[in-house]
């Protein structure tokens, strides 16, 4: 059980990362990553909603009629997202104002529905929770890397703390949506190239380990 959870966690964080491999949740990657603080809150919101959403949907999957399956998935995921929105509005009004409609739009993040449909609908509650958690964390990790680059180059700061002197000219393009496209594309390219090389090395190693067919070399 422990090994299975670890594998699910590893899949969500790297091998089946929602952004690198599944290419899901790209819209919010563009919208919120020009600022590390907002990115962290967005990632926490998505992780909370996808982990608990998957857990709940998996727990009640035996009761859900096939005809209204997707409607119920949206209902459950919306419940957690709106809960996040209510808490932010009451206890972190400044963050709530800055993120504006993006918190509510977590509902439309394909990762949530994707994991609910692809994993939680066919697996027990605990693995579904781990899968939701792993995918939320995998999404957050990529977003965070992009946000650090964008905030540093766009404002000269990280988490609002200025890291360079007045000599630094901010790259305004880094704060605007196009830079997120460039950076997501670069991250996808880097991750896919790394995985392809690792796969090729694995294949070469297993081919070398296989005994040569008899009579092949004389």
């Amino acid at each position: 059980m422990k090994g299975k959870s670890a594998k699910i966690l590893k899949d969500g964080l790297w091998a089946n990362n929602p952004i690198f491999v599944q290419v899901l949740g790209i819209c919010s990657t563009l919208a919120v990553t020009n600022n590390v603080r907002n990115t962290l809150i967005m990632a926490a919101g998505v992780t909370f909603a996808t982990a608990l959403g998957s857990l709940t949907l998996s727990a009640i999957k035996g009761l859900i009629p096939r005809k209204v399956r997707m409607i119920v998935q949206v209902l459950v995921l919306s419940f957690y997202v709106i809960l996040v929105d209510i808490v932010l509005r009451a206890y972190a009004p400044a963050v709530s104002k800055q993120l504006g409609p993006y918190v509510g739009l977590i509902i439309t993040n394909c990762i949530l529905m994707g994991r609910a449909e692809a994993f939680a609908a066919a697996n027990p509650p605990w693995p579904s929770f781990v899968d939701g958690l792993a995918n939320g964390l995998g999404y957050g990790l990529v977003l965070l890397c992009i946000a650090v680059v964008r905030e540093f180059l766009g404002f000269g700061s990280v988490l609002g703390i200025r890291l360079v002197g007045d000599w630094f000219t901010p790259w305004t393009i880094m704060i605007m949506a196009p830079s997120a496209f460039f950076l997501v594309a670069l991250a996808l390219w880097g991750a896919k190239s790394y995985n392809a090389r690792a796969e090729a090395r694995r294949k070469a190693a297993s081919a070398a380990a296989r005994p040569a067919p008899s009579g092949a070399a004389k």
């Binding site: 020009n34 600022n35 009640i60 009761l63 859900i64 009629p65 096939r66 005809k67 209204v68 409607i71 119920v72 209902l75 459950v76 919306s78 419940f79 709106i82 809960l83 209510i86 808490v87 509005r89 009451a90 206890y91 009004p93 104002k97 766009g154 404002f155 901010p170 305004t172 704060i175 605007m176």
Partner: protein, 201 residues
């Protein structure tokens, strides 16, 4: 009852909706007071900042607002007696580049000198037009003398802030000429409103 029968689908959907929506309604109801207090604090603290009144924390801001600021009838704005003079503030919205810019603008009751301004809401480009919310930009307006048309947001300025309080000009944000123009229009519309309310032309 079969899971795919109409009766089960209807009953399940009804129960599921009630089960998930009821806690949300309760959470919303339970935090309503707090959300309203946050909204009031955001608005009142912006008025205090426009009037140039310093405060520390929400309780201090509420106390200073209650003792120094009076709301004008009909929600037309605010009046404050500060340093022996009477000041008026109004909330004004206008077009921005990407959305509406809303700000509170304060000036003396005759509309001769600005007291200050505070941005309540804006969706301008972060790093460009969005810099109108930075302190250096807003501080330029504090105590600025107003001409007949109000203030000029100068596109030919240094972009670092105009320290001269007598020339009726402030520096525009470099690279955000349109947003700066929109700010000028909103501030001057607010000044006209203050002059009308203060009885001066």
């Amino acid at each position: 009852m079969k899971k795919d029968s109409i009766a089960y689908v209807v009953a399940f959907t009804f129960v599921a909706c009630a089960a998930f929506i009821a806690p949300l309604a309760l959470a919303n109801e339970g935090t309503k007071g707090r959300v309203e207090a946050n909204r009031l604090f955001a608005s009142r603290s912006a008025v205090l900042r426009a009037f140039g009144v310093a405060y520390e924390g929400q309780a201090d801001a509420e106390a200073k607002y209650a003792s120094l600021v009076a709301e004008l009838p009909g929600g037309r704005g605010w009046r404050a007696e500060l340093d022996g003079a009477s000041y008026l503030a109004v909330k004004r919205s206008g077009a921005g580049l990407w959305g509406t810019i809303t700000m509170v603008v304060a000036a003396d009751a005759r509309g001769e000198r600005l007291r200050g301004l505070e941005i309540l809401d804006q969706q301008e480009t972060p790093g460009l037009g969005g810099r109108i919310d930075e302190a250096w930009f807003k501080e330029q307006f504090r105590g600025e003398r107003l001409g007949p048309a109000g203030v000029v947001v100068d596109q030919a300025g240094t972009g670092k802030g105009d320290p001269d309080r007598e020339n009726g000009r402030v520096d525009a944000v470099t690279g955000a000429s349109r947003t700066s123009g929109f700010v000028q229009a909103i501030v001057n519309a607010a000044v006209a409103e203050i002059r009308a309310a203060g009885g001066s032309k």
